[in-house]
């Protein structure tokens, strides 16, 4: 069985299982949490493409997510754009933002990229939170980006009106669809020419470069491509919760997501997904200990990096060496 066929098979089994969940556990809580899991899974699958496959130390993924969320909310709030159009448009806006960040950062070496992307995210956060000037006064004073309180009342996908009792199940399937697209894209990229180019650049950079593979160009590609679905996930997040606030920039969230990638397996197709599932479940399990949540997350991150650097998927891998090779330094 070729790797691609195996991936498709795993994917189909998982989708079938996921389709059964809302009927087996019809409670609103389970379905809503699962929806949130899909959103974070989309983000980490895309982030993994940048971090694990492209070898870019980017910490801007949540800033891109926020760009998508804010773009969706603002289009809906200021121009009354219907959400079905606003979310894809937000994806395009996010790609543009990603290209700008990429152009500014990607010519630099690894650690410089990490610092700059972190700083960019922080600046955006500071600018949004400290903005107190009223931009509009309809329904109270609101700054352009909503300030600390964020933006609300920008419409939704229409499921709430259509099926008042079961809209959360509709959202569940929308999020599942997003995740399927995200994973399919990740398979295409990792197994396809782009992944091949990065593998060549890693295995023998001299030969790869002399054959005309430009690291900068491919990194910009992967950065832009992963920005699109990240932005769409952000837009869906905004619509799902009906409000966008600066909390999407929080460092705790960044830590939570990066821990998902590391625990699952950096640079692999199924690793981030597995990591997201494990961490969401673990988070659910330690709800009562929420004070110690971030300490636990930090410990988990450190322990996994030191003791199991290939992540959990490495335990399943028949060739343990490949998982380690798949990550780039």
């Amino acid at each position: 069985m070729t790797p691609v066929k195996r991936d498709i098979l795993i994917g189909l089994v998982l989708v079938a299982a996921a389709c059964a969940v809302p009927f087996l556990f019809p409670g609103r809580y389970v379905v809503t949490q699962a929806t949130l899991f899909f959103v974070w899974a989309v983000v980490v699958v895309q982030w993994n493409l940048v971090l694990g496959v492209g070898g870019i130390f980017s910490l801007a993924q949540m800033a891109l997510f926020a760009t998508g969320a804010y773009a969706t909310a603002m289009m809906g709030f200021y121009w009354k754009v219907p959400m079905l159009a606003a979310i894809p448009l937000a994806g395009v806006v996010t790609v543009a933002a990603g290209m700008l960040i990429g152009l500014a950062c990607l010519r630099l070496r690894g650690p410089y990229v990490a610092l700059l992307t972190l700083a960019i995210a922080q600046v955006l956060y500071v600018l949004i939170v400290n903005d107190t000037a009223c931009f509009t006064t309809t329904g109270g004073c609101m700054p352009l980006f909503g300030g600390v309180r964020g933006i609300g009342q920008f419409g939704d996908l229409g499921f709430r009106a259509l099926m008042p009792k079961t809209w959360h199940i509709a959202h569940y399937f929308v999020a599942l669809g997003l995740l399927v697209v995200a994973v399919a894209m990740s398979i295409v990229i990792i197994r396809g020419p782009l992944g091949l180019a990065f593998r060549a650049l890693r295995d023998n950079p001299g030969y790869a470069v002399s054959r005309g593979i430009s690291r900068f160009r491919y990194q910009l590609w992967i950065f832009a491509v992963s920005a699109f679905l990240t932005g769409i996930a952000g837009g869906f997040y905004a619509v799902h919760f009906r409000v966008v606030g600066p909390t999407v920039f929080s460092f705790q969230l960044l830590l939570f997501l990066i821990a998902m990638i590391v625990v699952g397996g950096l640079g692999t197709i199924w690793g981030p997904l597995l990591g997201a599932a494990v961490l969401m479940l673990a988070d659910e399990g330690v709800k009562e200990l929420s004070d110690y949540r971030n300490i636990g997350l930090g410990l988990l991150l450190v322990l996994f990096i030191i003791l199991q650097p290939g992540g959990l998927v490495r335990l399943f891998s028949r060739r343990p060496k490949r998982a380690a090779d798949a990550k780039t330094g």
Partner: protein
């Protein structure tokens, strides 16, 4: 003129604090290629330890400062033994240690949140009084910070230039393998560098909290600025970092006055990005010839 004096006075103080925070980061990156994301948390820890020493143990401020620096040096050492040393043996050190120190920083920060609570506390180490320059009152606190920074920077420069240890550190950062072949105990250099970086972070944490306040998240902002300083100077370039820290401190004070506090960080970042597009390895960084 008064405005000018005001900007220079607060800019130099900011720059001095950034310099102390940055030198540790730069030393560690220079010798280990390790981006220490826990630096901000160590900085905060230093501030809190000094506070606890003065407030709860009734120590003399100077003693509390020294104690905080010593304990943070131990934390730096523990980070080396616990995280950097095992990771150095595996591949992909730069990525792994970067992620691991994010985790360590989060652990430290949340332990402090548990221990000292989320509310800002004033730092008891304060120098009262001020001097008058023209029509501007410059607090002695600022001059004290400047003094401490100058002493520390001179000490670091002396160690780096004039001692065997310093020579070993410089040799390691120039070429790890060659240094090792010449008999430099690279492992010991790493340990020393991380300990020194921890101690410097503690001192800068005390200084920063003495003009602002102590809170568990106070380290994030200075760490980010220290990183920016490092990046502008070229990662691992210690002397460049000091110059860049002071220049950026002055710039920050000026933009704060001209554009308002809200825009100072954004302006700083914009300048940094422009500098990096012009010189991708920083102002003083040597363009490295990458051998494939």
């Amino acid at each position: 003129m008064d405005v000018f004096i005001q900007i220079v006075a607060s800019g130099l103080t900011l720059g001095a604090m950034y310099a102390v925070a940055t030198v540790g980061l730069s030393l560690v990156y220079g010798s280990l290629n390790m981006l220490n994301m826990a630096h901000g948390a160590i900085l905060t820890l230093g501030g809190y330890l000094c506070y606890a020493g003065i407030q709860h143990l009734g120590l003399h401020p100077a003693l509390a400062l020294a104690g905080a620096a010593a304990l943070c040096a131990v934390v730096g050492l523990l980070i080396y033994l616990g995280a950097a040393l095992p990771l150095l043996r595996a591949e992909g050190f730069e990525t792994n240690v970067f992620i691991a120190t994010i985790g360590i920083g989060s652990i430290l920060e949340n332990l402090m949140l548990r221990g000292f609570g989320p509310y800002p506390i004033p730092q008891p180490l304060a120098v009262p009084g001020h001097v008058v320059l023209g029509n501007v009152h410059v607090p002695l606190q600022n001059l004290f910070i400047l003094g401490v920074a100058v002493v520390l920077m001179s000490a670091v420069a002396f160690v780096l230039e004039r001692t065997r240890t310093g020579r070993a550190i410089r040799a390691t950062s120039m070429n790890r393998e060659a240094a090792q072949l010449m008999g430099v105990r690279v492992g010991r250099v790493y340990a020393q560098v991380l300990a020194v970086s921890g101690a410097l972070a503690a001192v800068s944490g005390v200084m920063i909290s003495s003009i602002a306040t102590l809170s568990p998240v106070m380290g994030g902002d200075p760490m980010l600025k220290a990183f920016i300083v490092c990046v502008v100077a070229g990662l691992g370039n210690v002397y460049g970092a000091v110059v860049a820290a002071i220049v950026l401190g002055l710039l920050e004070a000026a933009t704060q006055y001209i554009l308002g506090v809200r825009w100072s960080f954004a302006t700083l970042l914009l300048i940094v990005i422009l500098v990096l597009i012009w010189r991708p390895y920083g102002l003083f960084g040597r363009t490295q010839v990458v051998r494939l």
